[in-house]
Structure formats: C-alpha cells, structure tokens
Symmetry: C2
Subunit: 335 residues, 2 copies
DNA sequence: TTGTAGGCGTTATCAC
DNA sequence: GTGATAACGCCTACAA
C-alpha cells in the first residue's frame, strides 16, 4: 500500500490540506511547516494517487499520440521524441495506430471522450474537416506533428516541405542532372504530396528544365508503390538520369526496381529520397536523402502540447524546423 | 460532462447499485430491470469513469510494455501485436523504451510502483536476477515476450531459437555450402546469442562440417556491428561461401560490407539472416532469413497477460511458436 | 433481488 | 496561514 496524504500529514503533524498545499502551491505555506512536510514526503516516498486527482480534476497525466503506424521507422522515431518529453513531464503517452483508417480514428476519439486525456498529438496525416470537428469536441489541446494546421488554426511542428523538395532539385541540378523524374506522394495529399511536388517542379522550372506530367509518377510513400512508380516513370521517361522520391521508402522501392532490372545506381540513374529513415544508410549504395529532424519534431510537438496544457490560452507558435541534405552514395556527379 | 451512474439510475428508475450490478454482474439482476438499465445506459451513452473505479479497486486498465527500442522495426511489430490485444481489452498500454539501460529500467519500475499498472510485458532482453527481484516487488503479473523465463519460472512466448538456427544451417548445407561463417550475437546473451550459435554449430557438426572459432564473429544485433563482424570474419575465413547472421540487421550490415568491397551477393557469398524484419525484402538482393512470427508473439504475450490479470492463479502455459525460412535472393544454390 | 451507505485519496471551499 | 469538510464516481458489504 502506498502512503497517502494522510500518512504524510500525520508524520509531519499537520493537516492534510497543508500537505496538499505544499504539493500544489508551496508558496502558500509557512516555510517551517513546509520543510517538515517535504521531509515527511521524502521519508515516506509519498506520491499523489493519480486516480484520486483524476477523479476530482479530470486531469489524467496522459496524452495520446495518433500515429499512422508505429511500425514505420519514421513515425517510430518521431514517437520517441514525444515519449522522451512526456516522461520528463511524468506523463504517460498512449499510442494509437490509426493505419490511416477513419473508423479506427473515430473509435479512438470516442474512447478519449470517455476516458479523458489531457492532450493529443496528431501525427503526419492531413487534417480533414471531420478530424477538426472531432478535435474540437475533445476540449483538450491538440498539436500537429509533421503535418500542417494553418487551415484550422491548429499549431504544428513541421519542416518546410516545399523548400526541402526545392533543395533536392537544386542538388540534383548542381550535380549535372537535366532529365529528372519525380516519384510523388498522392496528388491530393496536402502535406507531403502537393508541396513536395510543387517545390521540386518549381525549382526545375527556375532552371528552365522540363517538368511535365510524363516526368511524374505517383505512389503512396511505401516501398511497393515506389517500385511500381519507378516502373511507370521509366516507361514514360527512359532518358532520365535522376529521380527524386518523396519518401525514402519509395526511393528504396525505386532503387530495387532499377537494380533488379540490372541498372546501376547511381552510375546510370541517381536517386534522392526524403526523410532519412534509418534504413537509408543500410542499403547499398547508401541513399542520399533530404533529412527531416524527425526526433526533434516529436520533441517540439510534445513540448508545445505540454505548454498548452499548462496554459490553455497560450497562443502556441507553430514551428518550422530546418531540413538538410544528407549526401551518401546514390547521386552521381555528372559534371 | 459525461453521464454518471446516478444519471442512469434516475433514468431507469432504479438505485445506483442496481446499475452497477448490471454492469458488473448482469446475472444478479432481474431481467426486467436489467433491460431498463441497459436501455438507459445505451441512451445516455454511459461508461464507467475509470478514475473512480481505479480509485476504488486500484485496477488501472493499463499495462506496460518494456521494450529495448520502439525504433527498431522488430520491436515495433511485436508491440503492434501487444497493442491490438490491449485495445480489444479496452486497456491502454504504456510503452517504455529501455535502450537496454539499467537505470532507465529502474526508473520506469519505480514509477510503476507508484502509479500502478495491471501487468507488464517484458520484451526481448535477458532477464537478470535484478530484473526478477524488481518484478516481484511490483506484485502484478509479468509475461516475457521473445525471451526466456524458465530460470525464474516466468511465463514467456518465444520461438525455439536453437531449432531455428539449426534449420538455417541445414538450409545452407542443402544448398551446397560447406564453408560457412556465423555472425553471432554476444557470447553471453542467453536469449538470442548462445542458443542461435549453438543450434547452428551443432547442425554443422552433425553434417561433419567445420565450425571452429575462426568461423564465428560476434556482434550486437545492429547493422554496424554486422558490418564490422563481416570484416573480421572475412579476414579469418576467406574461403567461406555462406554466412548466417543472428539478426537481419547484422545480415544487412554484412551484406553492405561485402557489396562495398565489390563482392557479389549471393553469387560469391550467400547470406541468411534472422527475424524477417520488413527491411529484409527492401534491399537488393532481398534477404533470405529465418522468420519469427513477431506480431503473433506480441499478441500471444498480451493475451497471456490479460488471462493472468483476470485470474492471478492461472498457471500460465509458456508458448513456443513456430519459425520458418523465408526464401528470397541471398542464398545461392551451389549444387 | 434491491437499496443504503461508507470509503477509496485528492483538491478546493470555506471558516477560523 | 491553517484545518475541517464536501465533493469527484464507483463498488460492495450489509441491511431490508
């Protein structure tokens, strides 16, 4: 049996209210008594029972993280950032794999309406009207990670996808490539689809390079779709010397396609990915890619959430973190 | 504000105890009233407040999963199995990344002693005396996943590592290999180190094949250590035609070393891994490996845990799940 | 079979 | 500045 507030009170020879005050508003208690209480707490190893507090205040010391799939290394690492901050704050984080499934999402949300949570971090998927409405019902702070919230005024932490994709294009161009294909995310994905494609294309255009429809294939960020997209792309644009993929997994898929067709990467075709997942350095040749500070995104999102939980009127300032190109072995210098 | 038991009672015109009974022991209530109550529950969307129940019964509807690192795809998938069962049981699972760090482990455990959990799943790491002692203090059921508990009488769900490694050896031998190297886990790891090495060596011995110290290098299951181990192994045993690695990540490391040295896999050197992580099909050539039913291990471990939580005297029957060899492209048939 | 009442540990409100 | 006390919502003796 854990010690309760009563045990501490008895030990310190004060009332339970005093103990409670020492814990919650230490300044309101005369120093002398406060020290006595503190000492008793220390001795007994007292910690407030979260159920009792929860029952009274409905604060749960629990946040939820909604993630497409923890099995995906990108999300796993982002989650680590969240978890590390939550642990610092002595909070639990309960993890929700949505599998991008609407029903699953709703199931979790209705669950949260009963069994309260203090806040929510929504990772990576585009926010729809339906999502937004559900968030509002929840009545707790919501922070977005690796996705955009401008449209709904939701605070977010992410990278500038447009600029990052644009940098990828410049990098390829600087390495002497002129015929460049793109494996994009879904054409209607406002997060990692549209902006990355636009950023990349605009950069090509700025250099006066072709960037027509035949230079783009679409995938769904995973390995298999990258493999398939590469097949299509190669069909419509056999002269290409480089490919930009909007995710590392797709880049790996593209690479697998090419290698299995007997083509040499990067000598014949160069590839640059996006994300810098841990696998990207494990393949041969190691993948050159645009790195997002994934772990940091998770950390900052969590920090922002706790700031808002502590102070609900805090007008959270969204964060755009920097990206960088990690140069490994899949881009050939043609100059 | 969510409806409480009182609201339901009023609506159904019964006392709160009747409502409580309907929820907890439906058989003890006359059918007529029961139906009325059920209807009221339905109408109001009543769900018991978990804090109130928690406060009374100290049941938290929360289990913990101790995992070396959720960023590792193997653990991530195992965790998915755990989570899926937990959700079925309307439990939360809080995830603890130990990073194999003792201090971190203890921090979590002491945290759990305060803020109770209903049960614990300990994944993958070898159980030490210290661990075991700490488990005992916790006073809640503990189940082991992907690790052994015989020594302490702890129930576990795992694969037969010895037999699986032995099968890997047979597979290589059947494909005509005679000079075979091993990249083992740590020599003192009783879980995935010792048994996999022993199983593999014993199989070689059974075929009258050499299996001396020069045919083994040791790693720590990760990519880099596999890379390094392959370098050593190749130094001591340049005649080898095949390598067994005790983890896929090490197999990938080994493969990277060979490929970067200009060697062809599998034509010159074959590789077989262990785990069947998702990456193994993404590399080229795709990795042949011994598959563990990871997701299933997580599921079964969780199911076992909930069985024991429900019935503490349940003498949990440990489970040994089957393995299989997933044949892809890294083993050359020399016959 | 059903209802009443007490207590789980905390915090906040009110007196003092 | 401090202490008693009333909730918070649930469950379960115990009484009826």
């Amino acid at each position: 049996m854990n010690p309760t507030i009563h045990d501490v009170a008895r030990q310190a020879n004060v009332s339970i209210s005093t103990v409670s005050r020492v814990v919650n508003q230490p300044l309101a208690v005369r120093k002398e008594k406060r020290d006595r209480v503190l000492q008793a707490i220390e001795q007994l190893g007292y910690e407030p029972n979260p159920f009792a507090s929860g029952l009274r205040d409905r604060a749960t010391k629990t946040i939820a993280a909604m993630i497409p799939d923890i099995t995906n290394p990108f999300y796993a690492e982002l989650f680590r950032g969240i978890e590390d901050i939550a642990r610092e704050q002595k909070n639990n984080v309960i993890i929700c794999n949505t599998d991008q499934d609407e029903a699953r999402f709703l199931e979790y949300m209705s669950y949260f309406k009963k069994k309260k949570i203090d806040g929510l971090i929504f990772v990576s998927a585009a926010v729809t009207d339906a999502h937004h409405a559900t968030f509002a019902e929840l009545q707790v702070p919501v922070v977005l990670a690796a996705t955009d919230g401008e449209r709904f005024g939701l605070p977010y932490v992410k990278v500038n996808d447009y600029a990052a994709a644009s940098d990828a294009a410049s990098f390829l161009i600087k390495n002497g490539h002129r015929s460049i294909g793109v494996i994009s995310g879904p054409a209607d994905d406002p997060i990692a689809g549209i902006p990355r494609l636009a950023g990349f294309r605009d950069a090509l255009a700025a250099y006066g390079l072709p960037h027509g429809a035949n230079a783009v294939a679409y995938g769904t960020y995973d390995f298999d779709s990258g493999y398939e997209a590469m097949r299509k792309l190669y069909g419509t644009m056999p002269e290409l010397t480089a490919v930009f993929a909007a995710s590392d997994a797709m880049a790996l898929g593209a690479m697998a396609f090419l290698q299995r067709r007997g083509m040499e990467v990067p000598r014949q075709i160069s590839i640059i990915g996006f994300d810098n997942i841990s696998l990207s350095r494990m393949v041969t040749p190691a993948l050159t890619t645009v790195a997002q500070p994934v772990y940091e995104i998770g950390k900052q999102a969590a920090a922002m959430l706790f700031r808002r939980i502590g102070n609900p009127q805090d007008e959270a300032q969204s964060l755009v973190l920097g990206h960088e190109i990690v140069v490994r072995d899949t881009v050939w210098n043609r100059n």
